[in-house]
Amino acid sequence: MASVVESKKACAVNPLKMSQPLGASFAFLGLDACMPVMHGSQGCTSFGLVLLVRHFKEAIPLQTTAMNEVTSILGGYDNIEAALLNIRKRAAPRVIAICSTGLTETKGDDVDGYIVTVRKRKPELDDTEIIYVSTPDYVGGFEDGYSHAVTAIVKTLVKPLPVNARQVTLLPGSHLAPADIDELREIIEAFGLSCIVLPDISGSLDGHIAPDWRGTTLGGTTLEQIRAAGASALTLGVGEQTREAAEALQNIAGTPLEIFDRLTGLEVNDRLLQRLAQVSGQPVPAKYRRQRSQLLDAMLDGHFYTGGIKVAIAAEPDLLLAVGSLLHEMGAELHCCVSTTKSASHARLPATTVILGDLEDFERSAADCDLLITHSHGRQAAERLNKPLLRIGFPVFDRIGNAHRCQVGYRGTMALIFEIANLMIAQIGHHHATDWPLTPEALRAASAVAQAKPDQIQASARYQETVAAASA
């Protein structure tokens, strides 16, 4: 429904967007025993690393090919080779996943070709899978990088296999937290289906204490699981951003796909359960029938606080759609929607326009909104505008427990409704005697009362005397 307007500014102020390589690295962090590498200068990795650490409060394995000005110009083959060998030696990952950056894309490094050469020259890397995805910083954003990376994983590792009718592949979007993935896996498994999640940050970024220190990711989709995805009977994608990878799976293994543009909200989850019931031939478990009625009640309790409020949301396309649609269904008005890149999701957003812009655009349009929703970088705007801020998406660096916030399924939707409603309840102020002043016009009109007849005034004075005497 919403039309997309691109910000006309030359200068982005207070960026909402983050870069493609960061999104790609995030996807690679969902693979088990993996070391993601950014092919660029060390700052590219350093910035991404700091941001991921601040959000997840977890050790983040992320390496760099440490390009300098000479290698940038002469080409990064030597750095790629050295990085692969060094990582193999120091961390012994099963997968090394490389994404390019603006620097190496500007020069035009042929990393696919480099990898072929390294494979020939260095047999010691034979036991390590290498994945590469092209993600220039100056194209797209976080969500695009993630989407391309998942597709690259599929294209590199998945082969067609005989179909296992009881297995589905779940492709979570980059806006899903570990808790979201856990919730969806639980739902799918409740139908007696087995589920391959790709990529699965619920294994690696869920904040657990591992028995020993590992230089690589501490969990996630294993190589065996990725390869087994070729046997799945169905691919379920969450978010439009998963379509590219789901179609790659279809092309490679012939797996039919179904993309849910969101799984936050009532009706979309009804559809999910219906679909799972069809695939599995099982009835919807009682647990979810009960959760559905709990969600209905939560929506009823919550709508008092969300109905009619004006909301400003800035988020990546799929997250914007998920949260924006839920708020719309709860009676809120999407007054200002800002997003990062183009997406088919925008067309479905129940708002008039989506601005592809930054948090300055957000702040300027949010002045008459009741609630601001964006990532932690919105905190400055919220402070200046003195408005409540709901932190969503990535990065949320000034709150802990981000891995365990669930916003999908009936339960997750309910949790999000409570969060929003409680934020609004906290804004309810006490009314004061002077809150509803009359207009000057009304006061003028009413001044006739002052010209009341003398006997009326007298009566009134006598009344006051009586009251005074009684209270004394």
Binding site: K9, A10, C11, A12, V13, N14, P15, K17, M18, S19, L22, V37, G40, S41, Q42, G43, C44, T45, S46, F47, G48, L49, V50, L51, V53, R54, E58, A59, Q63, T64, T65, A66, N68, E69, S72, N79, I80, A82, A83, L84, L85, N86, I87, R90, T101, G102, L103, T106, K107, P136, D137, Y138, V139, I209, A210, W213, G215, H377, Q380, F397
Partner: protein
């Protein structure tokens, strides 16, 4: 890389204020002092990051990053450098270049961006940061800045430190060069006093400068300009009228100090606000140099009296903790100045340093460590996270102090950790800060949570419960010394 940038880097490496550098042969000196990075095993920021760290604390200017979204979008508002006034420095400005800019060049977009910023925010100056991609496609930010300065009648300062030029440390110096080339000396202060100083290389992280400023205020010493913590453009621009320069944070901006000495004859000294002894020495040095520069010499006396009062007060407050922290073993994983300035402070608190990392330290830093810790200083050149983890898990250290990125090495080994890098929330400057640091270490080590998180699950890997032993009857076996102490047991009382 442009010729000018190459010359600049060579110049930075020719640092006359660095004794080590002067001891090198011509050939060695050309190589510079930073080790070549090893791909696949590198950490830390790039030159752009370093330049931004050095200059961003100037609070009233707009910091505009000319490059793709990664450079600013992934990094803005990530440091707690405090401002007592303007907040514009916390806004992220970037040209967020796209594919077409890469093909056709981004100079026009940069110029327009500068105009938009001036129209909307009207800052006293705009700092424009070069990045890898825009440097590689040949955008001439110096030319654009010059044109914009003429057009808008405001200083538009180019900061030429693209990421690929080198590591963060080099970027600090390149950022400093921008100040020397375009800012310092361009504005005259409204008035001067015999007590005017500059503080160079202090970034006012979590307001640390404000733990020190009251001391200077009390002595009548004026911070003419702090480069760059809680800085203002005009203050930095008029820094050349100070009587004395203090250089903080090791060598990160030594070029400012040496060049200001050459150009305006301002003497400088190297000081630290970390540690009680160091803080006092710093105050003495400031007073001594100011008097030498013509300030009335009663300043020396007043300084000594202030030091006496402040030291006594700090010691009194630390004494409370010293007994509890005596002999605690600290693993220090940080870089540069903190590899030694914090050491002195911890020793004051009775703690033992079982290792300090020197990966990012200059050769002078290493000398300093030897001076403070003696020849048996455990300098760790390049410790892998696994080695750190093992060291902590085997309880060869009681606490790790490091930056945020390595915190999980300690936390996953279920050992106390304290943040001493830029993402932290506690200020550790001056006498106040040292008491705060000791208090925080005490709070970290003695938090009963360490006892809790070391309780093993009362079941095995198979989920079978482990016999009839109740978990509460058993914790001593795996309690480390620290945890045992935290529940009040002496080492002898801990069952083996």
């Amino acid at each position: 890389m442009s010729v000018s940038l190459k010359a600049k880097i060579a110049e930075v490496f020719e640092e006359p204020g660095c004794d080590k550098n002067q001891g090198k042969s011509e050939k060695e000196r050309k190589k510079g002092c930073t080790k070549q990075l090893s791909p696949g095993a590198a950490a830390g920021g790039c030159a752009f990051d370093g330049a931004k760290i050095a200059l961003q604390p100037i609070a009233d200017v707009a910091h505009l990053v000319h490059g793709p979204i990664a450079c600013e979008g992934n990094s803005w508002d990530n440091r707690h450098s405090g401002s007592s006034g303007p907040q514009l420095y916390r806004s992220g400005f970037t040209t967020d270049i796209n594919e077409l800019d890469v093909v056709y060049g981004g100079e026009k977009r940069l110029f327009k961006s500068i105009r938009e910023i001036i129209e909307k925010y009207n800052p006293p100056a705009v700092f424009v940061y070069q990045t890898c991609v825009t440097a590689l496609v040949g955008d001439d930010i110096e030319a654009v800045c010059q044109r914009a300065t003429e057009k808008f009648g405001k200083p538009i300062i180019p900061v030429n430190a693209p990421g690929f030029a080198g590591p963060k440390n080099l970027g600090n110096k390149l950022g400093a060069e921008a100040l020397l080339d375009y800012v310092i000396g361009t504005v005259e202060p409204e008035f001067t006093t015999p007590y005017d100083i500059n503080i160079i290389g202090e970034y006012n992280l979590v307001g640390e400068l404000w733990q020190v400023k009251p001391l200077l205020d009390a002595l009548g010493i004026r911070i003419l300009s702090c480069i760059s913590g809680d800085g203002r453009y005009n203050e930095v621009a008029s820094a050349h009228r100070a009587k004395v320069n203090m250089m903080v944070c090791s060598k990160s901006m030594i070029n400012i100090a040496t060049k200001m000495e050459q150009r305006w004859g301002i003497p400088y000294f190297e000081g630290s606000f970390y540690g009680i002894g160091d803080m006092s020495d710093t105050l003495r040095q400031i007073a001594k140099l100011l008097v030498k520069q013509g300030a009335p010499d009663d300043l020396l006396d007043r300084t000594e009296r202030l030091i006496e009062v402040e030291e006594a007060r700090a010691w009194l407050r630390i004494a409370e903790y010293k007994q509890r922290l005596q002999g605690k073993r600290v693993l220090l994983i940080t870089g540069g100045v903190k590899s030694w300035s914090v050491v002195a402070a911890l020793q004051e608190g009775g703690m033992e340093i079982v290792g300090t990392s020197i990966k990012k330290s200059t050769k002078e830093d290493k000398e300093k460590i030897k001076e403070i810790m003696g020849d048996d200083a455990h300098m760790i050149d390049d410790m892998t996270p696994r080695e750190m983890y093992n060291m902590l898990r085997d309880a060869r250290a009681d606490i790790m102090l490091s930056g945020g990125r390595s915190q999980f090495v300690a936390l996953k080994a279920r050992m106390p950790w304290l943040d001493i890098n830029q993402e932290r929330y506690h200020p550790y400057g001056g006498y106040e800060g040292m008491v705060e640091l000791v208090r925080e270490i005490d709070r970290a080590i003695y938090n009963p949570v360490w006892q809790q998180v070391r309780i093993p699950a009362p079941w095995g890997d198979d989920g079978e419960t482990l016999g009839a032993v109740l978990p509460s009857a058993q914790p001593m076996d795996y309690l480390t010394e620290v945890a045992a102490k935290s529940i009040g047991l002496t080492p002898e009382e801990v069952p083996s």
